[in-house]
């Protein structure tokens, strides 16, 4: 097996076991210290990365233009593919962030019968969307552990998530969608030779980590149940800065909780920072108006170039011979 995959599987497994065992051995460490530390690390790390990026200037205006530029009134301008002002850039960014528009364009090609053919490849877009949105819903749903009383809006979200009445406790779709989409993304990484070839530990690990988080969450809800009342007492104590660690919460919960902490702590130092980076991508967040509005490069160097005078000095005779006007006649 591929070493990157092996490391990731092992890491997730070991981390899960650490959480499982750690919860009963050192509940205060795993229930209080690590979670707070993870949150601090997440935010501090995130901020550090963003500020680190923004510290470097954007010397040139380099949007990738994906449509017709703004020129004449009688030529239809592709406003959101080739924005020429901030408002349209904003729309382009929103479409990118909420609908993964660039990925929607994706196709796959192959050579068949001497032809390059282009086929549908919508699955990455589709499962990518499902993955991110179900993750969002799962995240929002979990706010119920940190709020008391629980806002009505959260209850609505939960009601919609559980709209299909299946079993008891009722199935919440987002969890399964998240797990399913994560497994799809993982399977894709293993099954498509090209994607396997480019995949690193840093690619397998987060998707396995998230799948394990979803998996342990599902296990806790539907199979090996934990005492949710005690869990909420604990999470509320964290949310009100008066941490207590009640007894009798199962190891599975700590495994889940620890993996979540790992995810948060790992987030800023991983490719997951694409969530912040997408806002700073100069090919997407700039307007294509550099012919109309001058863009400033803060480190624009002064460089010596061959001036007309240098040129004329070199070619003066030939120029005169050719009847070209010159500045200095010798």
């Amino acid at each position: 097996m591929n070493q990157h995959l092996l490391y990731s599987l092992a890491a997730v497994l070991v981390l899960g076991l650490i959480g499982y065992a750690g919860g009963s051995g050192m509940p205060y460490l795993f229930g209080v210290i690590i979670p707070y530390a993870a949150m601090v690390l997440f935010f501090a790390g995130f901020a550090m990365r963003m500020l680190g990026w923004v510290k470097s200037p954007v010397p040139f205006r380099i949007p990738t233009t994906c449509g017709q530029q703004q020129s004449f009134s009688w030529i239809q301008h592709s406003k959101y593919d080739n924005p020429s002002n901030k408002r349209d850039v904003l729309v382009r960014m929103l479409l990118e962030i909420f609908l993964f528009r660039s990925l929607f364009r994706n196709t796959k090609n192959e050579i068949r019968e001497g032809k390059v053919v282009y086929n549908l490849e919508i699955w990455l877009w589709l499962f990518g969307l499902i993955f991110h949105y179900s993750f969002l819903v799962v995240l929002v749903r979990h706010l119920r552990f940190f709020l008391e009383p629980i806002p009505a809006l959260l209850k609505v979200v939960e009601m919609l998530d559980g709209i299909l009445q299946i079993g008891l406790p009722g199935i919440l779709l987002s969890g399964f969608l998240l797990l399913g989409a994560a497994l799809f993304l993982f399977a894709r990484r293993i099954l498509i030779p090209q994607v396997r070839y480019i995949s690193l530990t840093a690619d397998y690990f987060p998707v396995l980590l998230i799948a394990s988080i979803a998996g342990t969450g599902i296990l806790m809800r539907y199979v090996a149940k934990v005492d949710i009342f005690t869990v909420k007492q604990m999470t509320m104590s964290l949310a009100t800065f008066s941490p207590v660690v009640p007894e009798g919460i199962g190891g599975l919960f700590y495994a889940h909780f620890f993996l979540v902490c790992v995810l948060f702590a790992y987030f800023p130092f991983s490719k997951l920072m694409h969530s912040g980076g997408i806002f700073l991508s100069p090919t997407r967040n700039m307007a294509n108006n550099s012919r109309a509005v001058r863009h400033i490069n803060p480190w624009n160097p002064k460089l010596k170039f061959v001036t007309y005078a240098d040129y004329e000095d070199e070619f003066r005779e030939k120029m005169i011979e050719a009847g070209l006007p010159v500045e200095k006649k010798e």
Binding site: F43, M50, V54, E148, E158, M159, K225, F241
Partner: protein
């Protein structure tokens, strides 16, 4: 606005989102509700299975019960300790609500607190404590 300011503003929003629970909980105790064990339940001394087990698994047990009662016509559950129970949510003395007389105090307080979904039991099964009001 420079990019740096924009990023700082974004980070501020992120910080607020992350700490949202702290803000929303501010000034509230967030304490867990007291679970009131009704007199009848206290008298009975023990539930169908151990308290902890029931807390975690009652919904699965009820799910199983309803199938066994409706589909197999069996109404008696023999617990691990050998005690027999009437598999019924609300009908009569030996049912769940026979002991736990108040759904508001027993079921709802905990369900509301943990937010584990709305109970649809009472859309069909009669809750005497509410019916009488």
């Amino acid at each position: 606005m420079s990019d740096k300011l924009k990023v700082l503003a974004g980070l501020l929003v992120l910080a607020v989102l992350i700490t949202l629970p702290f803000w929303l909980n501010a000034g509230k105790s967030g304490a867990a509700p007291e679970i009131v064990i009704a007199e009848a339940a206290k008298k009975a001394g023990n539930c169908v299975e151990s308290k902890e087990w029931m807390a975690a698994n009652h919904m699965a047990l009820l799910d199983q019960w309803r199938d066994v009662v409706v589909r197999e016509g069996k109404h008696i559950y023999v617990s691990e300790s050998g005690q027999e129970f009437n598999m019924s949510l609300s009908s009569g003395e030996n049912s769940c609500l026979g002991c736990h007389t108040s759904t508001a105090e027993f079921c709802d307080s905990c369900h509301d607190y943990t937010g584990v979904g709305t109970l649809y039991c009472w859309e069909c099964h009669i809750d005497p404590s509410k019916e009488n009001k």
